[in-house]
Amino acid sequence: MNQPSPRNILRWFDPRHRQPGTWAFILNRITALGLTLYLAMHLIVLGKLAQGPAAYDSFVALAHSPLVKIGEMLVIAAGILHGLNGLRVAITSLGFATRYQRQLLWASTILSGILILIFARAMFLGG
């Protein structure tokens, strides 16, 4: 309970009484798992391309629903958040700008927000 145990796995994702650094860690881990799942699905789906035009085009028609669009948007958002926060983690992990990790966190979050809005606009309003 109070002691370390692999069964505490859900506690990784408990944001209560934590400060922003852990929230970033939680988000980084969730988006990482999501992106990994997406990468696997993406590679499998693209296999349709090797099966020629008929297979691919009928699949794309099927996938052209609003639900899939929202899903794609989630993947883009996850990629942006994981990528920019990952950049911060990579830099500070090597002892560079470590004292400014909190400021870098705000900067990466704000930049992520802006980029996500730009992509959402392009996706749902067509530019």
Partner: protein
């Protein structure tokens, strides 16, 4: 006469190998008292069987670390005013990531053994005791002073990477290794922490530096030690085999 606050002290109690339960104590306290004073009050006037650790009462011994309303605190220097409000709740729990012996007492022996392995000396020359980016004290005195880490274990309790496995060294040990390495360049210390349970387990949540009551900045020290270890290993690649230095 200061205005007293009515508060509810919720203490997580536990006998070894039994499930924990919460006990409530209604207290009237001066908000400028410290949380440890409230706990001692409970022990003195309500329940003699309550167990907890403390010694110095002035943030030097590191024994009184607990979780107060979910956050790791050195209870002897945490005023009630800062952690609750009139008619509020004060929930006190033992530190996480250590085995609970009873009530608020946790087993820190494994932690202390690891600290010892780093060969950290508790005193250091003035210039080496502080963090390198701290401004120099306005004095020409060239003495020794106590180093900052009081081995309270708050950082170990707060670290999210420490909560799934007992084998992780935790922030304080890694920070201690950095401190020793920067003082001595001793490669054994680098070897000690250059492993999965050491430097490479940290996931940059920076909780340790947020809760450390004593200006150690363990997260900064971990990252600095990583840089030293990576630099050392990269330099080793370009050395001839007979010049290589462990690790």
């Amino acid at each position: 006469m200061p205005t007293l606050w009515k508060i509810t002290l919720e203490i997580l109690r536990q006998r070894q190998n039994q499930p924990p339960h919460v006990e409530l104590f209604e207290l009237e306290v001066d908000p400028d008292e410290n949380v440890l004073d409230c706990i001692e009050r409970v022990w003195a006037f309500h329940d003699r069987s309550l167990t907890f650790r403390h010694a110095c009462h002035h943030s030097t011994c590191g024994a009184c670390g607990m979780r107060v309303n979910g956050v790791e605190k050195l209870t002897c220097i945490t005023p009630v005013r800062e952690v609750t409000h009139p008619n509020g709740v004060l929930r006190v729990e033992p530190l996480r990531n250590f085995p609970v012996l009873s009530d608020l007492v946790v087993d820190v022996s494994g932690f202390f053994q690891r600290m010892e392995q780093t060969q950290l000396s508790s005193i250091a020359p003035l210039s080496q005791a502080k963090l390198p980016f701290e401004p120099n004290p306005p004095t020409i005195w060239q003495g020794q002073r106590l180093i900052d880490c009081i081995e309270c274990g708050l950082c170990v309790s707060a670290c999210p990477a420490a909560n799934t496995s007992t084998s992780y060294f935790g922030p304080a040990v890694l920070a201690a290794a950095q401190h020793v390495y920067r003082q001595t360049n001793n490669p054994t210390v680098m070897q000690l922490v250059n492993c999965a349970d050491g430097l490479w387990r940290c996931h940059s949540a920076y909780e340790c530096s947020a809760v450390c009551p004593s200006n150690v900045d363990p997260a900064w020290r971990i990252m600095d030690m990583r840089r030293a270890t990576v630099a050392h290993s990269l330099r080793n690649i370009f050395k001839r085999p007979n010049q290589k230095v462990a690790p």
